[in-house]
């Protein structure tokens, strides 16, 4: 029995080793994905060179105190401070994940011992950047706002976390001699939440400005997830559609079609139209679902969304057809497409936002159509960009469609149409 089992094992091993698609899926794909995720996650976790977050900074006060705050922020290892104007609009259109506005009167407040007011504009879609930003911002603000604010912040935190009164008093005594904040801050029964209580205690007025009427983490996560899944599944779906060429070649129906008088160019064109139609339908269903279930703002710029989806479907259709006419068999196509699409999806931001990875990773990612498709979708869905705002993304996707479609056409003619 064991001997026969070994015979079966040896046979399966022989078949497996001769199946390049199975080998690729078993060994190459995991290695490629592990490399991509390893590179992305180690950067996000601060391994080696920590990821720096770009923050726009606008100073309407121009006092020594506001300039000191700017200098302090600029020294932060996690932040790259960009001095800009109209910072609210910049965050709104996705130029930076966050912006700090120092209003007029900041210096005066600090000098008078009042809680100074600072505005933080945020893009809720950039959650990871915002966490890095918050971590860097707190100590700077505590230093700039003075010990009274720090004492108030600590008091609220300890109270919310249930420290006994004695311990709270002992801790507060460390701030002896410090001035109390002007408005003091009342008792709260809510658990401590820095984004609300901490920010308020530090005089930070937080405003989420991107994402339109549905601004919020759920909608932001939904917009990315839906767009990411849509682009990745579009590639899988349309490659499968392109694969019908190979099925038909194998079954003989393609030859039968070719034997009709004027089939020629119509065959590949018909396949391309079919593939694009399926792609568009797939996108419509997914975004409708995203709108209904995750509040993804699909109707913010419907015209731009439709054009961008058309360009994305065209690029994916070109990619699928090129893969199909480049493979000998359906099985080969399935193996190669899985390897390529999962790699492209990981590199191109379908799984996690490219904003959280280093610049070199983003550059590589933009060699995939996924990255351009994702940029366009984020632009339309989250930042409400119109067609002009996503012209570059649409142009790149249409170029990808033209190049992949052109090469597919050339290979098709060479392989299927040329009478040899």
């Amino acid at each position: 029995m064991i001997r026969l089992a070994l015979v079966v094992t040896a046979k399966d091993l022989r078949l497996f080793l001769r199946d390049r698609a199975a080998l690729g899926m078993s060994f190459a794909l995991p290695l490629v994905l592990a490399t991509i995720f390893g590179a992305a996650l180690s950067s996000m976790a601060g391994g080696g060179r920590a990821q720096r977050v770009e923050v726009a900074f606008e100073d309407l006060d121009g006092s020594a105190e506001s300039q000191a705050l700017q200098a302090d922020l600029a020294r932060s290892a996690a932040l790259t401070l960009q001095v800009r104007t109209e910072v609210r609009a910049r965050v709104q259109r996705g130029a930076e994940p966050a912006a700090i506005l120092v209003p007029a009167g900041f210096g005066e407040d600090v000098r008078a011992g009042r809680k100074p007011r600072i505005v933080l504009y945020r893009d809720p879609a950039k959650e990871i950047e915002l966490q890095i930003l918050t971590g860097s911002l707190v100590p700077v603000l505590m230093r700039s706002a003075g010990p009274g604010v720090a004492k108030e912040l600590m008091r609220r935190g300890m109270e919310a976390m249930g420290f006994p009164a004695g311990m709270r008093a002992a801790a507060e005594s460390m701030f002896d001699g410090s001035k109390q904040p002007a408005d003091g801050g009342g008792e709260t029964s809510n658990p401590f939440d820095f984004s609300k209580d901490g920010a308020s205690a530090l005089g930070l007025h937080v405003e989420d400005v991107a994402g339109g009427v549905n601004a919020g983490r759920k909608a932001a996560a939904g917009a990315h997830a839906i767009a990411g899944i849509a682009v990745m599944m579009l590639l899988f779906g349309l490659t499968a559609c392109g694969g019908t060429i190979l099925e038909e070649a194998q079954s003989g129906t393609l030859q039968r079609v070719q034997l009709t008088p004027h089939a020629g160019a119509s065959i590949l064109l018909g396949k391309a139209l079919f593939t694009m139609s399926v792609g568009l339908a797939q996108l419509v269903v997914l975004f409708a679902y995203g709108g209904l279930v995750f509040d993804v703002p699909v109707l913010r710029a419907p015209g731009a969304l439709l054009v961008h989806s058309g360009a994305t479907a065209a690029a994916a259709a070109g990619f699928g057809l090129l893969l199909a006419v480049s493979c000998r068999t359906r099985k080969q196509l399935e193996g190669l497409s899985t390897l390529l699409i999962l790699t492209m999806s990981a590199l191109g931001g379908s799984w996690f936002p490219l904003a959280v990875v280093p610049a070199w990773f983003r550059t590589i990612g933009h060699f995939t159509l996924n990255a351009w498709a994702m940029d366009g979708y984020q632009g339309v869905l989250w930042y409400g960009k119109d067609l002009g705002g996503i012209a570059l993304e649409v142009a790149v996707l249409l170029s990808i469609a033209a190049v992949t479609g052109g090469v597919a056409w050339h290979r098709w003619r060479h392989r299927f149409e040329r009478i040899r």
């Binding site: 079954s251 003989g252 030859q255 079609v257 034997l259 009709t260 008088p261 009478i419």
Partner: protein, 289 residues
């Protein structure tokens, strides 16, 4: 009706060569098929039958030699020629996910049929295939015989002048084979020229006017069945004159006097005839699923 020899040529091939690298799939082949004729193309695997048909039907280009089909050059006039030929491939070249009628409509449209003419041709083809009552079923649930018959009529929708049939009866039961034969008979009655390849020699006997046997890419024998038989038995050119109404005994005497060996055998029906007599000729269409 004119005799076969007087009819113009439907296919003329002279010195045809098709080489793949150093290997020659067709090596100096010459043959002619007259209009309205049914030619049986025989040969073992690798003899060059399929390559020859691919060249004649515009799917492959010859390395050298002259080819003319229905007065056209398959290389230069592919589109015009494709409108006038029908090719029944050996494989079932149909869309399993479509119904029988949908398959025929699709191929009919590609041949330029539309409207009432298309509907008429599709209905006729379904009738010819014996599938009128199963037209709305998907091909995937058809039996092997049903698929074969649909495969055949799908190549005839545009009423081609020349039909290439590549082993059209592989894997089907005698009833369906009998039905295919009847279809070929109707094609012949319509005046179509037929090139029929098969490994089943009985089919050639039953259907073809003339036979060409290929081997190693060349014609090694050509003629009617009787001519080939005589050639094979070495009695070509020997004969004896019998008076009309001669009795069997007298006839045997005359033949023996002419030096012709005579063997008397009982003319028994073939196994297929026995099978069809016992089981009937009606089609047995059970689902293939």
């Amino acid at each position: 009706m004119s005799s076969p020899e007087d009819r113009p040529l439907a296919v003329r091939v002279e010195g045809l060569v098709k080489a793949y690298g150093a290997a020659r799939a067709v090596d100096g082949l010459s043959l002619a098929v007259r209009r309205g004729e049914c030619l049986g193309l025989l040969g073992p695997n690798g003899a060059g039958k399929t390559t020859t048909i691919r060249i004649l039907s515009t799917l492959a280009a010859p390395t050298s030699g002259r080819v003319e089909v229905l007065g056209l050059d398959p290389g230069r006039d592919a589109a015009r020629l494709r409108a006038r030929i029908g090719v029944v491939p050996q494989e079932i070249a149909l869309y399993e996910g479509l119904t029988g009628a949908e398959n025929l409509e699709f191929f009919g449209r590609l041949h330029g049929l539309s409207g009432a003419r298309l509907a008429e041709r599709v209905a006729a083809a379904l009738g010819d295939a014996g599938l009128a009552d199963r037209a709305g079923d998907r091909v995937a649930v058809y039996s092997g015989g049903m698929q074969r018959r649909l495969n055949l009529v799908a190549a005839l929708l545009h009423e081609p002048d020349l039909v290439f049939l590549d082993e059209p009866t592989v894997g089907i039961d005698p009833q369906s084979r009998h039905h295919v034969f009847a279809l070929v008979d109707r094609l012949r009655a319509r005046g179509a020229t037929i090139v029929y390849t098969t490994h089943l020699l009985g089919e050639v006997e039953r259907l073809c006017d003339r036979i060409v046997i290929l081997d190693h890419g060349r014609v090694i024998a050509e003629g009617t069945l009787d001519e080939l038989r005589r050639r094979a038995s070495g009695v070509s050119g020997r004969g004896a004159r019998l008076d009309a109404g001669a009795r069997v005994g007298e006839a045997l005497g005359v033949l023996r006097a002419a030096g012709i060996e005579v063997r008397v055998e009982e003319d028994l029906p073939g196994l297929e005839d026995v099978f069809l007599t016992l089981t009937g000729r009606a089609l047995r269409d059970e689902d293939g699923a």
